[in-house]
């Protein structure tokens, strides 16, 4: 047996040393990655979402759309004003509401409501939405994001806590479906207008949802 085939004592210890470092590094990776990824859920799935009140029903007159402010349910000490968020509340009639995110469905800029023309307009790239939140024109691919709401003890309450973005799961859960009110309105548009190709496309889409 030649010496070359033998593992020297120092060579063995060096390899063991590398292995030992590898094991320690792997063990340390777990807490580091866990720390880094904790911002995705902070514990459990949808831990960020909860029901927050917007105000009593009486603050929102029927047929009107008003701006409401709420505090994000998840707050950290250095957040400052950033946790105060606004949304557009449309009281269709009675206890039927639509609560729209302030963020344009295109790239998230704050949309403004113009009651005179019944449109939401975005100052960034010019997206426009009808009063029911459906897309009117411009670059957005869809209507405004809607928060799920319920009326509890005379208070309008919404489920909020995440920035609505085109790809967020909350957006696909609650916003992609046309709300009941919107569907009725689209049908009424159909009866009033000899529908243009755009309205037609919109209606076809709505019907497939229904």
């Amino acid at each position: 047996m030649s010496n070359e085939n033998l593992v020297s004592r120092r060579g063995f210890f060096m390899k063991m040393g590398i292995l030992f470092n590898g094991l320690v590094a792997a063990a340390l990776t777990v807490p580091i990655v866990g720390y880094l990824l904790s911002c995705i859920t902070r514990g459990r799935a949808n831990a960020y979402l909860s029901w927050v009140p917007l105000g009593p029903v009486s603050e929102f007159p029927e047929g009107e759309t008003r701006l409401a402010t709420f505090r994000n349910p998840y707050v950290t000490p250095t957040d400052g004003k950033t946790v105060d968020t606004v949304c557009w509340v449309r009281r269709v009639e009675g206890e039927q509401f639509q609560v729209f995110a302030i963020n344009c469905a295109h790239l998230g800029c704050p949309v403004r409501w113009f009651p005179q023309s019944g449109l939401f307009m975005c100052p960034c790239h010019g997206g426009a939405y009808y009063r029911d939140g459906s897309r009117a024109s411009g670059p957005p691919e869809r209507g405004l994001f809607e928060y799920p709401y319920k009326v509890q003890d005379g208070m309008v309450t919404i489920q909020a806590g995440e920035l609505p973005t085109p790809g967020s799961p909350t957006a696909s859960l609650f916003g992609n479906k046309a709300p009941c009110g919107a569907r009725n309105e689209l049908v009424s548009i159909e009866s009033k207008l000899s529908a243009s190709s755009e309205t037609n496309a919109l209606l076809r889409k709505t019907k497939t949802w229904a």
């Binding site: 911002c39 995705i40 902070r42 960020y48 701006l67 402010t69 998840y74 707050v75 950290t76 000490p77 250095t78 957040d79 400052g80 004003k81 950033t82 946790v83 105060d84 968020t85 606004v86 302030i102 963020n103 295109h106 790239l107 998230g108 800029c109 704050p110 113009f114 005179q116 023309s117 019944g118 449109l119 307009m121 100052p123 960034c124 790239h125 010019g126 426009a128 009808y130 009117a136 024109s137 411009g138 670059p139 957005p140 691919e141 806590g161 995440e162 920035l163 973005t165 085109p166 790809g167 967020s168 309105e185 548009i189 009033k192 207008l193 000899s194 529908a195 243009s196 755009e198 309205t199």
Partner: protein, 495 residues
């Protein structure tokens, strides 16, 4: 030997750096590279060092907390002696750095310096460009104002479109479910530790390769790069027609570096610091956020891409561009270096420059954005009201009140999202006007539900008056016939 010499020797005996530094400084470079075209790399390094120094100075006052950052910027601007100047230097330094890095890249590309054996220098340079842009974006976030807040929203909206992983990427980017304290903290870590650390490492690698491989010789049309012979040819060139980098070529770098620093300081003095704009308060929605100068082209692009193209372009576009830049030296690693014999290279640079320049210019006045206050702020020019009937004037009122003006200009005032309506009556007949107003289309919302028949009648009556003097409004010839037939029938009926 003087005292200073002795001290120097004492240090060098221990550090042993004098010889390698002298070698590096005096390494021979081809004589014709001592050119004003070759100063942009060192200028970029100079501005980077300026950014390091001014950045550290700002960090003495700046507070990376969503609740304090904005006020600490106000303190820098107004309370701290010369704080405004340091902010302005850092802000202008950032603009200069992006610009110089881009110019350096174009020069390297047009002079064929990315070819063999400098492929890796180019690739590292591509990453340096990406990091510079990353610094520019994260720096804009640290200036935590309204633009920064909504800019983050735009970033999150783009990131969320990544299939499957989108929502996770958004939360990693924001450090939580919304733009808040954690978001600013992590962009601070990126801007101050992570990216600068990588930048310093990559800059060292980049410089090391420039020293080891030598400065790219001045490209001569017809002198082709071949892998087998290039290195010998280059060494012959530096032996025959070379000169030591210091002092033969370095004086131009020194002059240009000083000039750039002076230019940054002059801009800082004259124009002052950037922002901060309004407080980063999401309840203030009367805002039209805009990105910093070097991302304006992206703002323009996002307005003009058709909706169906947007997500693919946003997600695939950057991958394709970066892949192309990285692969470039492998696709064209040999051959002609001179831009005089590389027309496609020159045209590509021109095309990209024109596209980016045009989009940036357009984003300067955002013709795609509605003017949110035009309906209440911009007056209807007198000539459109003079001598009009009551109905037509009522129509002008409807035109303003229904926010038509936000997207349509009259007399050059108002939004430019839709066409100017000064002479709309020449283009559209009455029927077409009614149809357009009620049904919308062609990127205009339908107003059918928001106008009463009386309002529509008045509005269209006003729109029909919008034609140049002496030019008749458009009319549908068939309509006259149809109406006259109608009249004939009515007249015939009683008989």
């Amino acid at each position: 030997m003087g005292v200073i010499g002795q001290i120097g020797q004492w240090f060098d005996q221990r550090l042993q750096l004098a010889a390698p530094i002298r070698d590096a400084a005096e390494h021979p470079v081809p004589r014709n590279t001592a050119s004003w075209f070759y100063v942009f790399g060192s200028a970029a390094l100079t501005v980077f060092l300026l950014q390091l120094v001014t950045g550290i100075l700002l960090a003495l006052i700046y507070v990376p907390s969503a609740s304090e950052a904005w006020s600490s910027l106000q303190a820098l601007n107004h309370d701290v002696t010369l704080g405004w100047f340091i902010r302005a230097m850092h802000g202008w330094g950032s603009n200069f750095m992006v610009a110089i890095v881009l110019i350096h890249m174009v020069q390297v590309f047009l002079f064929g310096a990315y070819k063999f054996p400098r492929e890796l220098t180019w690739i590292v340079g591509v990453f340096l460009l990406l990091m510079t842009l990353g610094m520019a974006f994260s720096g804009q976030v640290l200036r935590f104002d309204q633009d920064a807040y909504w800019g983050l929203g735009i970033g999150a909206s783009i990131a969320s479109r990544v299939p499957i992983a989108g929502p996770i990427i958004v939360k990693l980017m924001l450090g939580g479910p919304i733009i808040a304290g954690a978001t600013l903290s992590r962009f601070f870590a990126l801007h101050v530790f992570v990216i600068p650390g990588m930048l310093i490492g990559f800059v060292c690698l980049h410089l090391l390769m420039v020293l080891k491989l030598g400065i790219n010789e001045w490209p001569m049309p017809g002198r082709l790069v071949k892998r087998a012979t290039y290195e010998d040819e280059y060494h012959q060139l530096t032996r025959k027609d070379g000169a030591p980098f210091v002092p033969y070529a370095v004086w131009k770098d020194l002059f240009f570096a000083a000039f750039i620093l002076l230019a940054v300081a002059a801009c800082a003095l004259y124009f002052g610091p950037f922002g901060p704009t309004g407080r980063p308060d999401p309840t203030i929605i009367q805002t039209a956020p805009k990105p910093d100068y070097f991302f304006l082209w992206l703002y323009g692009l996002l307005s003009y891409l058709p909706p169906s193209m947007e997500t693919p372009a946003l997600l695939i576009g950057p991958v394709v561009v970066i892949a192309f830049l990285v692969l470039l030296p492998f696709l064209a690693g040999e051959g002609e270096k001179s831009w005089r014999r590389r027309p496609i290279a020159v045209l590509t640079v021109l095309l990209i420059a024109i596209i980016l320049g045009t989009l940036t210019h357009l984003a300067g006045y955002t013709p795609w954005s509605p003017h949110m206050n035009a309906w209440s702020g911009d007056p209807v020019p007198e000539q459109f009201l003079h001598g009009r009937t009551a109905l037509e004037r009522q129509g002008a009122l409807v035109f303003q009140v229904k926010q038509c003006r936000n997207c349509h200009s009259l007399g050059d005032l108002g939004g430019q999202r839709g066409p100017a309506l000064d002479s709309v009556a020449v283009r559209l007949t009455q029927d077409q006007l009614i149809r357009q107003v009620i049904q919308g289309g062609g990127n205009m919302p339908a107003y059918g539900k928001n106008l009463s028949p009386a309002e529509t009648t008045a509005l269209v009556a006003f729109l029909e008056t919008l034609h140049p003097r002496g030019q008749a409004p458009a009319r549908d010839a068939a309509r006259d016939i149809a109406l006259s037939e109608d009249k004939d029938q009515r007249q015939a009926a009683p008989r």
